[in-house]
Subunit: 315 residues, 4 copies
């Protein structure tokens, strides 16, 4: 998936500008020292840079423990040229209130941030800045830059963004619920799947064949019958009319696991538009509970039994 | 399974003596002209003759449309040295009242038959022979022989049994419900499975792993998830205490069918004591409805997709 | 259901003649001292005596831990005028070999018994009486009487039958598997259901509506969704042609339990020919595991919530 | 729910300022002539105005056929003081490119809109305004006002917003996929549920009890067993840590329907934090398919049967 060479350095696209949480996630990667970060204005732009081969990989936010799915990421992965997830990482997210040096809290009339940040800080803002107006920005770092430019008075962003834009931290942490995390994924063009580690996750998108009653439950049964637990399911509109959805699913295990493979084949046969989005180590390191009868060994033994029975060697 | 040679003629065991419905079933087989029929006193004895190699095959009753399972057959197939079903056939069953020549209906004080025949003729007997006492016999033909011997006055048996025992038919047909059928199966030692015909049935026995709530439903789900319809399920005691059961199941399709094979592997992994009892053409010729996504072609396509995805060729 | 009065003594029908295991079960009932036992030639005859009002109740065998269902009992309860089970009891069953005084083991050429006894003693017979021929009788006690009459040389029956027929016990116990039990039920005409004890069982028969694929699983789901465990399921032919079945089901709990009631209503709506065959204390005294959310209190709380929500009191 | 009187006019909160699609939805309501529209800066603010009794109702966007759930709406309804949905309506959404009079397409350097509008017009923008930079605004109408103020060069908004902000329509329609719709709901404080019309929808939020494998499937089964179809399911983070979700569900039918009531009681017993969010007529007028055995009449008949059986009147 990712090949290193002296000639062609790793280039990772991310949601810029400098100072975003996504950049912080990129810098948390072990290989970050040898990576050239490529800021992009939007998530789709970052993924497009990978599709076009301009970047080796893109790091994009997938999900916030407070705000939920980053739908732009899901929708982009579900359509267009295939991309796959090869790694995930969890980042604790804590906002700071950034201002131009010398600004006092009573001077703040406008606060800008990415729309995802606003609901996480809503109560804090109403208590501490009841009269300030919130303004949307395309990223928190962009909000910081707009504060630097004098467009707004304050920005909600990571404190690491302050020095980049000549700002200072007036309050930290700023949030309504402590412990927020964001899940980021590293995405590449399709290539060899990262080998199973025993603590893996597999992502797919899948659609309904004909939208008959109970069809979602049948999709879930494909996993349940093989003892594969789901860790997440998101419904997203297909764009083909109100009430038409597809599903983004994370399940426990690796596509190389027999139980996961059989479940995916079941989906491939009975549902529509199945897309494999990668198998990769789980960031939380939580090993799956492998139910009786669903280990690779048991699958292999059952296969051997079947081959024998088909050949006439009953029992 | 069945090999023909000049030296070693086919020997088929059946529930005797001559004149039983089982013999009639044997004689209905296309190869009956070149088969040596071997009467046995009981179903277990007939099956044992195959296990010991004394007979090529045994023909045994499996199920009556009126009386239900022939439990001796199920229990014998479920235990001991493995045997497999290679053929099934349906026989219309109609009883006659056989008596010694000259016997009048008012002379009849006792009527003998196999216990399976009695409930099928109960109402007829109470209306036509209200004062006669019913007596159990090990087979209907044996009852006829006992009438010949003067032990009983009348027997319920197939009319074809009359000439063999010097009896005559006093009434025919004798039954409470018209159209009764018995399902017979031809059983051999394990060997090559009869090739799929597209209109096949597969028989198994399977036990519960730990008898947890819902375990039977999980067994049924192994079939349902793969679109395999069941045509029959019988519960039988394991003999290990009241409330402990195993299940005899007939499903649509052939073990060579991908969907049947995957369902059986699922059972093999998650349940206990799975025993394959054969795949063979359905006697009723009723083709299965193959649900969307469960044909061999779709299984093969899904496998190809999985292999490709595992190798890194997403979508 | 059962009313006592000086004028009209309790009359319990049972499978006779004297000396059967069914009689032994009847005598094990606490009220047996004040009951007049009424021997009947068959199970249907015993149940018919209750339907006609000639007997207060009938005690009939329902199931053997070795031989399985007593199908005559199931089929009789499933059709005709309704009858209900009001009690069950478990009886350990152990056979003895009964002979006329003075008979030695080497004198025995024929052994008679009810067909249910034969498979339970088959191995013992082949080891100890390899040359004797087995003969069917309508009950074990009847076999004993036939030994008394000189028709057969030995009978398999309960040792308690020996004195009644002037026989002696030549061997005891006689069986292939120790610990066999038979489940008997006491059956009456419909009346007040025995009150719940917390350790109850409910019996029903239910048919398929249109025999569509998966319909049996839907029946099981009606129970599973309400947390009602099944303890037994038997399929029986409807008599309307090969491959048409109805089901006899025992489930945990009492019809007065909310979860059982809702499951039965679900069956009543979605399946066919539901017949309630009684709720009664479990003979094994094994209390059911009541799953989270399925107690009567939780049902009542959910009902109160719903009534409130329907009335506009959201949450 | 909504009471009219001369003294107290209807006040409906909506996402303002004037010129938003939400305002257009409000104006499409039949009672709009007698309603005082109350613009609010955010969805939470509009709902809060209802909770505090300042407004009779709020009209809020629930879902876009292109962009999916309006998560602010779901999250606000799922927490805080209960509110209920009493009506839904579908609005076709089509954007126009609004500019100050005299602006030519080649003059446009910046285009502002609500973040929901951007992905619906992304391709159009890249083809028609490849060099313009997109900027986020809190509403499309607010973007229009910012164009009026000279902050940005163009806004994506409904064409009806143009006259309010002294702008003109430079291009229309602007979208990547034709036929986009937005679903709006009218929300009030709890009160009498709108009466069933036969073509209704019911909304709830529900949480997992202990997050065990398969728990989501069990929730779906509560509906499926009663023949209640789901029209939509959204997962949302609970805010209590990555991987913890609750579900927003729309199902067919009305809480007054027996099948819906029983399904909700099942959820109330077996899951957590069930909140009823209203039953109301479906905007699309699509009547539900009522499955065999799930009509109110069949529920009532089954209840009568159960009452009878509990009282001793078997069958």
């Amino acid at each position: 998936m990712v090949t290193m060479s002296v000639e062609q350095p790793l280039r990772y696209a991310y949601l810029g500008p400098e100072g975003t949480f996504t950049e912080a996630a990129l810098l948390a990667l072990p290989e970050s020292g040898s990576v050239e970060p490529v800021p992009c204005p939007t998530v789709p732009a970052a993924l497009e840079a990978v599709r076009r081969g301009e970047c080796t990989a893109a790091i994009v936010a997938m999900e916030s423990s407070v705000e939920g799915a980053v739908t732009a990421t899901i929708d982009e992965l579900a359509s267009g040229e295939p991309l796959v997830i090869v790694r995930e990482l969890l980042l604790s997210v804590s906002f700071a209130l950034l201002v131009r040096p010398g600004t006092a809290i009573e001077d703040i009339k406008t606060v800008a941030s990415h729309p995802v940040a606003e609901p996480q800080c809503r109560r804090w803002l109403s208590e501490n800045l009841p009269d300030a107006r919130w303004e949307a920005a395309t990223s928190n770092a962009h909000a910081a830059r707009q504060v630097q430019d004098g467009v707004y008075d304050a920005a909600l962003a990571g404190s690491f963004a302050a020095p980049r834009y000549g700002l200072e931290v007036l309050a930290e942490p700023v949030h309504d619920i402590a412990g927020a995390q964001t899940r980021f994924v590293l995405v590449t063009r399709p290539g060899p799947v990262p080998p199973p580690t025993g603590v893996d996750k597999t992502s797919i998108t899948v659609g309904l064949r004909d939208n008959h009653p109970g069809e979602l439950m049948e999709i879930l049964e494909q996993f349940a019958t093989r003892g594969v637990n789901l860790s997440r399911i998101e419904s997203r509109p297909t764009g083909q009319g109100m009430g038409r959805y597809f599903f983004f699913i994370d399940c426990e295990g690796h596509i190389a696991d027999a139980r996961v493979g059989e479940a995916l084949m079941g989906l491939r046969r009975s549902s529509a538009n199945l897309r494999f989005l990668g198998s990769y180590p789980r960031a939380d390191g939580q090993a799956p509970a492998v139910r009786f009868g669903t280990s690779d060994e048991e699958f292999a033994a059952a296969r051997a039994w079947l081959d024998d029975a088909r050949g006439g060697g009953a029992e």
